[in-house]
């Protein structure tokens, strides 16, 4: 093995390099660490101590044990696409990157499961089984690069989670390295309901604060026999929102039910995948129904009826797979498309009861006016998961702060109608304080008590997810000082 030389006196770096075999599996020099200062949440940055790239579970375990024994803070990182700052090394952490653990370990079509390493990229799984008529359901818009390990940590969702559920509904088993280095197996062979408290469910969505996931058994599904997609344009947002409610009330369970407002349409039509949405409409709905072919027409007809009743300007079905794919590419690249109309943007992730959609959209409009910042809305309308995108220009002094405040106000609006502050992107650093919008102190302590069981030294991904009592002022200050934005 060609051994690169370690050029540092730091004994920890040397020891960590020894664990992962050689110097090519560790980064520790300032320039190399720049890319790891933040994830997809770019408002806040901090330098890690080092980044290590283990190749297997034993190496992860040894690294973790070393960090734990030496009181070194550490955290796991997948593709770094997280949008709430979960992988940002707030405490100068050693970053354990899982990208070298990217194998598909096993596919068992008969029992409908697959086993992957945590660094395996989400979309690759579907791509590698689609020829046999199977797929992996959770489909975050970032699926072409985010890792399944990161998906487990964030309990990622996606457009098609309305019918099929989010990541947690598809996780059958996990191998986890605990913060002391112990390796545990939760439902090794994917068997359901193993006796004991449901740690599988608890670990999923714990944002990398309870353990590092090193192997994942997921459920795979048979691809539906048929799919049909409908596009509907509305002149009034209220009509679009009402149509969403009516479709669901009609007893239809669409595979996806997405909505974009006027500002969002302006962005996606100015970006890489325009499809010709009229620029003057207030809202577009993208509705997909899938399942047994024989039952689809009936549901599509019902959807067309509903839209007409709600004064739709135009509604049509995708004429072929190519058109369907272009509609989805247009939608799934929606966040990035903001770059075409604004230097910077901040994505929020509130959830509301569907019936409150018109009310909350009005409130977001008000927040936009009050802050003087444009807010685009792209959302999973079917499950009430809103993504207000606050557009701003970080070069203008004070705008970053304004954007953060506007984003927080949107979450308050969601919480006020009985909703929540995050549906799929996680709390991370970004929404720590907003946790108080939905949980009281006792409820937050109930959760940190659980963290103590797994992560008693709090060396693993500390400072995430929960507001720090008495530190609110300090955090606001840190946010203020942050200047760099994507």
């Amino acid at each position: 093995m060609a051994v690169k030389k370690i050029k540092t006196k730091d004994k920890h770096i040397k020891n960590l390099a020894t664990i992962v075999g050689d110097a090519s599996s560790i980064l520790y020099q300032k320039v190399d660490l720049l890319a790891y200062e933040c994830d997809g949440f770019t408002v806040y940055k901090h330098s890690p101590k080092a980044v290590v790239f283990p190749k297997n579970t034993n190496e992860v375990s040894a690294l973790v044990k070393y960090c734990s024994d030496n009181q070194l803070p550490f955290l796991a990182r997948g593709a770094g696409t997280g949008l709430s700052g979960g992988a940002i090394p707030l405490n100068n952490e050693v970053i354990i990157s899982l990208v070298k653990m990217k194998k598909l370990l096993n596919v068992d079509l008969e029992n409908r499961l697959a086993v992957v390493q945590p660094g395996y990229v989400n979309l690759k799984l579907t791509n590698s089984i689609s020829d046999k008529g199977y797929y992996y359901a959770p489909d975050p818009s970032s699926q072409s690069c985010c890792t399944i390990g990161g998906n487990v940590a964030e309990n990622a969702g996606g457009a098609h989670c309305l019918k099929y559920g989010v990541t947690t509904n598809h996780i059958l088993g996990l191998e986890v390295v605990l913060p002391n280095g112990d390796i545990i197996e939760l439902s090794e062979n994917g068997i359901l309901d193993v006796p004991g408290y449901d740690l599988l469910g608890l670990l999923t969505g714990s944002e990398g604060t309870l353990g590092i996931v090193t192997k994942i058994t997921v459920r795979i599904l048979k691809s539906p026999e048929s799919k049909q997609t409908v596009l509907a344009y509305f002149d009034r947002v209220d009509d679009g929102s009402q149509a969403v409610s009516d479709i669901i009330s009609a007893g239809i369970v669409p595979a996806a039910l997405e909505m974009m407002d006027k500002t969002a349409i302006e962005a996606v039509e100015s970006a890489a995948f325009p499809v010709g949405h009229p620029r003057d409409i207030a809202a577009v709905l993208l509705i997909e129904v899938d399942g047994i072919a024989a039952g689809i027409d009936e549901q599509i007809n019902q959807i067309l009826e509903v839209c007409k009743k709600r004064n739709v300007r135009e509604v049509r079905e995708a004429k072929d797979e190519q058109e369907r794919a272009s509609w989805w590419a247009n939608r799934k690249t929606g966040f990035g498309a903001m770059g075409a109309i604004s230097p910077d943007y901040l994505v929020q992730d509130g959830v509301i009861p569907r019936s409150k959609l018109p009310e909350v959209l009005k409130r977001i409009e008000q927040i936009s006016q009050e802050s003087g910042l444009r807010i685009a809305n792209i959302f999973h309308a079917g499950d009430g998961n809103l993504h207000p995108l606050v557009l701003f220009d970080a070069r203008i002094p004070g705008e970053t702060d304004k954007a953060i405040l506007a984003g927080s106000a949107c979450l308050q609006a969601c919480a006020d109608v009985g909703g929540t502050i995050t549906g799929e992107h996680g709390v991370g650093i970004e929404k720590r304080e907003e946790m108080r919008f939905v949980f009281n102190d006792e409820e937050i302590i109930a959760q940190t008590n659980i963290r103590e069981v797994f992560n008693p030294k709090n060396l693993l991904n500390a400072g995430k997810l929960f507001p720090t009592p008495g530190r609110c002022g300090e955090i606001k200050q840190v946010m203020k000082e942050a200047t760099t934005v994507s």
Binding site: R112, G165, L186, E443, N449
Partner: protein, 441 residues
């Protein structure tokens, strides 16, 4: 006499007419108590817990009592906390398809109410007239339609949990998608009441299917290979059965009159889709088998019967025979081995053994009836078989006395310290359902 002080103290929390002493002391399924209380408000529940926590009293929590024979190595505790009067719909927003309900509401009452809105909770527990939603969630009870609709962990979006210190801790929320903080709902689901008392459950609802049918295929020859081939063909197709359940000959005889291995396939969708799928199944029907298609009310009647096959802990007295129910989890297609083995147990131990298992989800239920000694031996043998398949076996129903002889939960996992850790953070005095759960938790 010891009860006197307890009674006096409880009377300061809850009216006398909702306190009963004596009544729940000698049930053969155990989980007894000196005094039973029937709170009607959350505040009462909270105060009872707080009292017990401060005075070292142990509590057994009960919903409808159907799972009284499920775990528990303490014959009798101080207080039996019944949630049977804590019932009713708290909030139902029809258009949002979410509902909050008090824990003591029976599943039947809940579904009857929802049916008026053409909605349902997509769980299928046994004994719906007796089982309460709280008990179903906390014991993680579900049936064959799990294949299509998932279980409590997929359906529950929020809980109100009353901790032993009396504090009310909400987990989750009221919206269908939520990743704020840890997914605490998950640790309460299936916790057997050892962490807190669930007072309210919020669930996401589904529309009642526009049409349903049930196909019964009886395999006359009884060849396991044939069933396996058929199941694989169906599972590898684009059909969308909500249940694909293998019934043992003994169970099949009881439910369908045919003493053969029988596969029950349930479809729920718009009518045209259901008929299309029926046609597909006819197309792959193995020769030498018989097929019966039950639609709508006939299918519903079958399921109605199906949900009464399991022993019901809410029944007052023991019958002549010992009854046991097992929950077994294996990798999906290993269900065949389990159901076959259970049929063999029937002959080798001279028992009546009825069993079924989901070929698409791997969970089985085995019900045994006969002499207590034979039942115990058969459970042990079954566990050996299950362990060879890397599965688990949990005893869901067994008289108290026999629970001393058979480990209800099987061994402890290597990460047991985490389970213990969670328990001791939430219930450090161990007042709730003592020794009811895995490893003596």
């Amino acid at each position: 006499m010891i009860a006197t002080e307890l009674l006096i103290n409880l009377e300061s929390i809850i009216p006398r007419e909702r306190i009963k002493s004596g009544q729940n002391q000698h049930h053969h399924l155990g989980n007894n108590a000196q005094v039973s209380v029937f709170p009607t408000t959350e505040e009462e529940i909270s105060l009872i817990l707080k009292y017990a926590n401060n005075h070292g009293k142990k509590i057994s929590v009960m919903g409808g009592g159907t799972k009284r024979g499920f775990g528990g190595l303490t014959e009798s505790v101080d207080i039996l906390l019944s949630l049977s009067l804590y019932k009713g719909i708290v909030e139902h927003t029809v258009g949002d398809m979410t509902l909050t309900v008090k824990a003591g509401t029976t599943f039947y009452e809940l579904q009857e109410y929802l049916a008026k809105h053409k909605q349902k909770v997509s769980l299928d527990p046994t004994w719906p007239e007796y089982s309460t939603i709280g008990g179903i969630v906390v014991a993680n009870e579900n049936g064959p339609k799990r294949l299509g609709y998932g279980s409590s962990r997929d359906v529950v979006i929020g809980l109100r949990n009353i901790y032993p210190d009396g504090s009310i801790i909400r987990s989750g929320g009221k919206v269908v998608k939520n990743v704020a903080g840890y997914d605490m709902n998950k640790i309460f689901i299936g916790s057997m009441g050892t962490l807190g008392v669930v007072s309210e459950v919020t669930v996401k609802l589904r529309p009642v299917a526009k049409y349903e049918s049930l196909i019964l295929i009886s395999f006359k020859e009884g060849s396991i290979d044939e069933i396996l081939m058929f199941s694989k063909a169906l599972l590898d197709s684009v059909m969308e059965p909500v249940a694909l359940e293998l019934l043992s000959p003994t169970l099949s005889e009881k439910l369908t009159g045919q003493c053969t291995f029988t596969v029950a396939i349930s479809f729920e969708d718009v009518e045209s889709s259901v008929h299309y799928q029926e046609k597909f199944v006819k197309g792959i029907q193995p020769s030498g088998t018989e097929m019966d298609i039950l639609s709508e009310s006939e299918a519903q009647y079958f399921w109605h019967l199906f949900y009464t096959i399991c022993p019901n802990g809410a029944k007052e007295s023991a019958g002549e025979e010992t009854e046991a129910a097992l929950k077994i989890g294996v990798v999906n297609l290993n269900v065949l081995s389990i159901i076959k083995e259970s049929q063999l147990l029937q002959d080798s131990y001279n028992l009546v053994v009825e069993s079924h298992g989901g070929l698409g989800h791997g969970l089985c239920q085995v019900i045994l009836k006969g002499s207590s000694q034979k039942v115990v031996l058969a459970i042990r043998q079954m566990r050996e078989t299950v362990l060879k398949l890397d599965g688990y076996l949990v005893v869901k129903h067994l008289p108290f006395e026999l629970r001393q002889k058979v480990d209800v939960w099987g061994g402890k996992p290597s990460h047991f310290f985490l389970l213990e850790g969670i328990k001791s953070k939430i219930d450090p005095q161990k007042i709730l359902n003592p020794k009811r759960f895995i490893g003596g938790i």
